[in-house]
């Protein structure tokens, strides 16, 4: 009885502000005639309209390009990170070049990507890969370089086979950092898909948003913005679920470590 009460209070604390904010927006904008801030009710109905009528033509391509770009980033990033992390001389040789390349904001490459790939999915995927690849790469390298020497001693003294060493020791040991890198990549990927849909595109949620802004259809623009927010939020939540499952051991380990020290 008491715990359910405690739980519902906790839930209430979490949700009251978002509800109040939403309600305030709804009420304040209800009779709005402002061009820029249409009533929330109209925005919501536009969200429904966009989702139902333009799912296949715009939402799906956005998701596909994002998914493809992120998958390629993760695969290349982890593979290159393994190589550079396991071969220190290679890393010290490439480090300055990599630091420079990753300092280029992905959006700054849009003009070049236009030269190279023209307009289309290839360009968008390429931009995502270039922007989202770095956090995975750098975190994989850091993760591998940070593996405890004792773990390496264990692996050597028990003559663990190279493949087992890689898949059962190196990758899991580096996984907390690799996953932290992927997480940054996911949010960068969402930014870059939107950016690439702004600059030269005929489809995508970003394209809908920019087009409607140009045509002063503010309700559609807000609807698209809300959809992008939901997309960003959902990708984050989805990622947290995956992380939660994969890194169960890591939380457990840290939990006991803390308990032991304090």
């Amino acid at each position: 009885m008491k715990t359910t009460l405690g739980k519902s209070t906790a839930l209430l604390t979490e949700v009251w502000l978002p509800i109040v904010a939403l309600a305030a927006w709804w009420i304040l904008s209800n009779k709005s005639t402002s061009l820029y801030f249409p009533p929330l009710s109209r925005i919501f109905s536009k969200v429904g309209e966009v989702v139902t009528t333009r799912f296949a033509s715009d939402i799906l391509p956005s998701l596909q390009n994002l998914g493809a770009g992120l998958c390629i980033s993760v695969i290349i990033g982890v593979a290159c990170g393994l190589l550079l992390g396991l071969v220190p001389p290679l890393y010290s040789a490439f480090q300055p070049l990599l630091e420079f390349m990753r300092a280029i904001p992905g959006v700054a490459l849009l003009p070049i990507a236009l030269f190279l790939f023209g307009i289309g999915s290839d360009m968008k995927v390429a931009i995502i890969v270039f922007g989202a690849f770095w956090p995975v790469l750098m975190n994989t390298i850091d993760g591998i370089r940070g593996i405890d020497v004792l773990i390496k001693d264990v692996s050597r003294s028990y003559s663990i086979k190279p493949w087992d060493h890689l898949t059962r020791i190196v990758l899991p040991a580096a996984s907390p950092q690799i996953i932290a890198g992927i997480r940054i990549s996911v949010s960068l990927g969402v930014i870059l898909i939107v950016a690439s849909e702004y600059i030269a595109s005929t489809e995508g949620i970003g394209y809908i948003q920019l087009l409607s802004a140009r045509q002063y259809q503010m309700d559609v623009m807000w609807a698209a913005l809300l959809l992008l927010g939901v997309l960003g939020y959902l990708s984050n939540v989805l990622f947290r679920v995956v992380e939660h499952r994969l890194l169960r051991w890591h939380r457990g380990l840290r939990g006991t470590d803390l308990g032991g020290q304090k």
Partner: protein, 289 residues
């Protein structure tokens, strides 16, 4: 297996030999010699403990013996085989159990890991061996847990089970019980006696605890000096089976313990002076009680 039994000959050939082992870190002006000319033999079915003051390069010695680090000169043999890398016939139990077990694997998977890819061993064989090893350290019911869900002493038992499942001829233990509390420590010492009796493995154990070395060993190798060398090898003729209470309260135990303590302290460097007492003849250590 047949090959292993064959090399466990009764001809008196040592199972493990350290021959004029020395190790120098760095070179030129920065050269620092840690080990100087260490030689000893360990025979089949023996338990030998290595004791020495802290900072005596015990871990360096162990890493050289385990083939994890090349020595500057001298060599290590297992039977007649020269050690150039980590030998298959040797297993190591490290001091820091919380870092030497893979936290992302279950206890069972940790024990099975070194057996993977070994020719002629099916998954079922692996499972069986891991079960047996875990049972012999009393952890048969913890196989599905993760190491971090266990207490420190239990984690070190897992590490021991992993070594046993590897079926080594020589078990190398690097201060294995230094990071657990006193009660767990004596339990683990007794466990060492038990597995020794059961598996007939040869044990070389590094420790800084002199009582522990006397309690466990057939012989104790006393290290000292900078660079470290073997001061004396003390035979321990206490009867088996040994017991925490009765053995440790015998006058023989106290005498051996006192003698080794004296050997260790006498050679402890009094200051950081680099002038090294030749063979430890300057014996007035600061805390010679």
């Amino acid at each position: 297996m047949t090959e292993i039994t064959a090399t466990r000959s009764k001809t008196g050939l040592p199972t493990l030999t350290a021959q004029a082992l020395s190790k120098t870190y760095g070179s030129g002006q920065n050269a620092r010699q840690v080990l100087g000319d260490i030689s000893f033999d360990v025979y089949d079915h023996e338990t030998v403990c290595i004791v020495g003051p802290s900072g005596a390069g015990k871990t360096t010695l162990l890493r050289c013996l385990a083939g994890l680090m090349p020595s500057t000169s001298g060599s290590v043999y297992i039977g007649t085989e020269k050690v150039v890398g980590p030998p298959r016939r040797m297993a190591v139990v490290f001091q820091d159990y919380s870092r030497s077990l893979m936290p992302w694997m279950t206890v069972e998977a940790n024990v099975e890991l070194p057996l993977r890819g070994r020719p002629g061993l099916t998954a079922a064989d692996r499972r069986h061996r891991a079960q047996t090893a875990l049972a012999s350290v009393g952890l048969e019911n913890s196989a599905k847990l993760h190491p971090w869900q266990l207490s420190g002493g239990m984690q070190q038992r897992v590490a021991i089970a992993r070594a046993l499942a590897y079926e080594p001829d020589v078990l190398l233990m690097d201060e294995p019980f230094a990071s657990v509390d006193a009660q767990t420590r004596s339990d683990l010492e007794d466990l060492t006696h038990t597995i020794k009796a059961k598996y007939g493995v040869t044990i070389l154990l590094v420790t800084h605890d002199i009582s522990e070395s006397v309690y466990l060993a057939d012989r104790v190798i006393v290290l000292s000096g900078t660079p470290t060398s073997v001061t004396e090898i003390v035979p321990i003729d206490l009867p088996s089976p040994r017991d925490q209470i009765t053995t440790k309260s015998t006058p023989e135990f106290a005498e051996l313990r006192g003698r080794i303590l004296g050997l260790v302290r006498r050679h402890q460097p009094a200051t950081t002076s680099t002038a090294e007492p030749a063979n430890g003849s300057l014996m007035k250590g600061p805390d010679l009680g």
